[in-house]
Amino acid sequence: MLKQHPLLRYYLGKIAAYMLTIWGAFTITFFLFRLLPVNPIESWVKALERQYAKTIAAGPEMVNFYKEQFGLNGTLLEQYVRYLYNVIIKQDLGPSFINFPTPVQDLIMQRLGWTLLLMGTSIAISWVLGLLLGLVAGWFREKRWSGVLTNVSIALSQIPAYLIALFLVLFFGYQLALFPTRGAYDAQFTVGLNLPFIMSMLWHSVLPISAIVLVTLAAWILSTRSLIITLLGEDYLHYAEAKGLRTQNIMRRYGLRNAMLPQATALALTLGAALSGQLLVEVLFVYPGLGELLSRAIQYFDFNAIMGIILLSIFSVMTASLIIDLLIPIIDPRIRTAIQSS
């Protein structure tokens, strides 16, 4: 039956690959962390003992109790099956270790908004700006300023955002003291929909967003520019010119519109990868997002928190790419035709 329905076969194949990849990535990460020669609970109990300078009599029982709490009892395989059962059937990611006994899903929900705010804003700004700048850079590629813009973008594109963030902190945070460099808002404001809080929040996000925008903008400019240059060789642009349309009109309706589909696809993938994208920038600005949480979780080997965040990140990357894979044959009939005739 599948032989006669190439489109159905395509969809089923994509969904199968989606599930397989999530499962594979989760499994590898799960065992990788559990196989690390560390014992977070014992070292925590030892640290407590050191702190109060006495032996806790019930030490071993305590360790076992907490092992059970965190799902670290039993063989690796038992742990694995139990974890999968809890996640899939009970939608429970387990308690966190660093914020015991807050369930990891609650912890993630507290942090997710901040990361989405930071990454969402940065990505939106750099995507829109990058598309427009890339369009003009590609269109007027003989112009001097286009060359300068391109070369600056090339130079910026491979520099990690955290280095840019470092420079921004130095100059705008410390040297000029223009912007705050720590946290997401000033503590004196109550969290909620009030103007002082929102202003403080925006004010705090200027530097981290700038750091992320600078490097990702460069990448969007370069990719859009090369898309446009490829388009410039197309007959329909030649013909649009012969129709005597205004250059602006041709750029917008014939150039940009054709570059939109690949760039929208790339945007979806970028959004999917946003959750774990700029972890170090969050750490550097002590921004209360998922990245900052993850980096603390790793230092204390908080397996549940680590796995929860990584699982969410894998899930969002894969779901974004699945949505793209499923939508593309619907949006672009040329691709649908290609699938059907394969």
Partner: protein
């Protein structure tokens, strides 16, 4: 080789990158000649060789840092370490990536499906937390282990690039011709495919090296660098730990990231030069 000389001739970006990188590598090579007379026969990473925070003097041209180390030595040794770890990890990642990508692309079929699925799975896993986790637990954090850990998650990119190239090369008329005329797989690989693949291997290598350095700095930045060496990323971490922001230690604070940016820039320009040579459409003026 022809590819490299042609790229050199045609691309100013490539020349810039190669010259900057060559100068940095040269400095890294002669570094011991400069710092040995200052610190004697001990590891540059060893703390407490001098008193802390000495001002610049004839003996310590840039003074000493908060661990009692000569600052000039810090820079030179840091450059050495960063280049070493970057190139080593880049080399390891590219080697694995080329082998996997090549087998996958050339053999095709079920093997390809299995390999590319595995590659894609690795690409989805956020690498940085795992790198940090591994670095936290390895018993001896030498430059070599750091390079190995960093390489672990950077080969899939190379594998994907090489696979795509091999697959498109397989369809090229000259390869088809060789197959039709009954040449063996090995002969086709060595005479037809590998020579044409070289540019892409080099591009993958430069990319993997940048990626490895970015990852190394990322690890070092949170204080998890190699324990037997000092790298540029670790220097940034030390500098912020010493309160360099408030103490105004601008040299310590600014120079390591500046050198890093220079290395990234050089590698990026080399890469872009090669890419533009292979695909002239990327250049500013087409058809020249």
């Amino acid at each position: 080789m022809r590819f490299l000389t042609n790229t050199w001739k045609s691309s100013g970006k490539f020349r810039f990158g190669v010259i900057v990188l060559a100068i940095l590598i040269f400095i890294a090579f002669i570094a011991p000649l400069i710092y040995r007379p200052i610190i004697g026969d001990v590891s540059p990473a060893r703390p407490g060789v001098f008193p802390r925070w000495l001002p610049a003097s004839a003996k310590n041209p840039l003074g000493t840092d908060g661990h009692g180390r000569d600052i000039l030595t810090d820079f030179l040794a840091g450059l050495q370490t960063t280049l070493f770890i970057g190139f080593l990890a880049g080399f390891l990642a590219t080697s694995v990536g080329v082998i996997v990508g090549f087998i996958s692309g050339y053999k095709g079929g079920k093997l390809d499906t299995a390999l590319i699925t595995f590659t894609n799975i690795l690409l989805v896993i956020p690498a940085y937390p795992i790198l940090v986790g591994l670095t936290l637990v390895v018993p001896s954090k030498s430059m070599l282990t750091v390079a190995l850990i960093v390489a672990l998650f950077s080969w899939p990119f190379a594998a994907r690039t090489i696979r795509a190239q091999v697959m498109s090369m397989k369809e090229q008329p000259y390869v088809e011709l060789a197959k039709v005329t009954g040449q063996g797989d090995l002969k086709i690989i060595f005479t037809e495919i590998l020579p044409n693949l070289l540019p892409y291997v080099l591009i993958s290598f430069a990319f993997a090296t940048v990626g490895a350095m970015v990852a190394e700095v990322g690890i070092a930045l949170i204080g998890l660098g190699a324990s037997d060496a000092i790298s540029l990323g670790m220097m940034i971490n030390y500098a912020s730990g010493w309160g360099a922001f408030t103490r105004g230690l601008y040299l310590l604070l600014l120079l390591p990231p500046a050198i890093l940016v220079l290395i990234f820039l050089a590698l990026t320009m080399i890469n872009r030069g090669m890419e533009e040579y292979l695909n002239p459409r990327l250049q500013n003026v087409t058809g020249q």
